[in-house]
Amino acid sequence: MTKNLKLKAARAKMNLSQQELADQVDVTRQTIVAIERGDYNPTINLCIRICQTLNVTLNDLFWEEIPNEKL
């Protein structure tokens, strides 16, 4: 899985550390680390909670463009 740099950028924009974001969405810091590294795909509920905390949409953080060759 690819790294989720959009999540990292959105978090940095809100001046939140990984621990602070984890506390606000009620998960552990390791979960946020795993999502940012692309090691774990969160459930839709967690995605929504993260987006609500960072004040962005699901598309902003979790949408991936499929390369044209794969279509």
């Binding site: 550390s17 998960v27 552990t28 979960t31 774990y40």
Partner: protein, 143 residues
């Protein structure tokens, strides 16, 4: 599995499955040893199974602690890890001060369980403190 977040549950299921496979593999190896030779390595088969299962338990518990899936979010990890270390050292002290040998006639006796449990508790606390140091370094880098 209440109070664990979804990633922790995922990791616990993963490491639990891996430790189950380890138990199956070790049981197969042990069965093969008994099938092809008369070699006895523990007092009885119950002790052999307990030791094999303990290997798998130590593996899964250490991996869970290292990946942050062992303790719930609200649990006091440092306190529990220190308690584990103390229990481990107490068991280790009992091993060295015991009058009963761990190995007798080239066979493991039941007293080996004190050594195994000390290894279990000490490895958990060691994994926790190593992980804490690694996380502090990562936190500084990631912010």
């Amino acid at each position: 599995m209440k109070n664990y977040d979804e990633y922790q549950k995922f990791l616990r299921y993963k490491y639990g499955s891996e430790s189950f496979i380890i138990v199956l593999f070790l049981t197969f190896i042990n069965f093969s040893v008994h099938l092809f030779s008369d070699r006895k390595w523990a007092e009885n088969q119950s002790l052999e199974m307990m030791l094999l299962v303990f290997i798998a338990i130590i593996y899964s518990a250490v991996r869970m602690i290292y990946s942050g899936a062992y303790f719930k979010k609200k649990q006091n990890g440092p306190f529990i890890a220190i308690t584990f270390a103390l229990i481990g050292f107490c068991n280790l002290y009992l091993v060295f001060t015991s009058n009963f040998p761990i190995i007798e006639n080239n066979i493991l006796t039941y007293d080996v369980m004190k050594l195994v449990s000390s290894i279990f508790f000490l490895s958990l606390s060691l994994a926790y403190f190593v992980r804490t140091l690694v996380e502090k370094r990562l936190e500084k880098n990631d912010g």
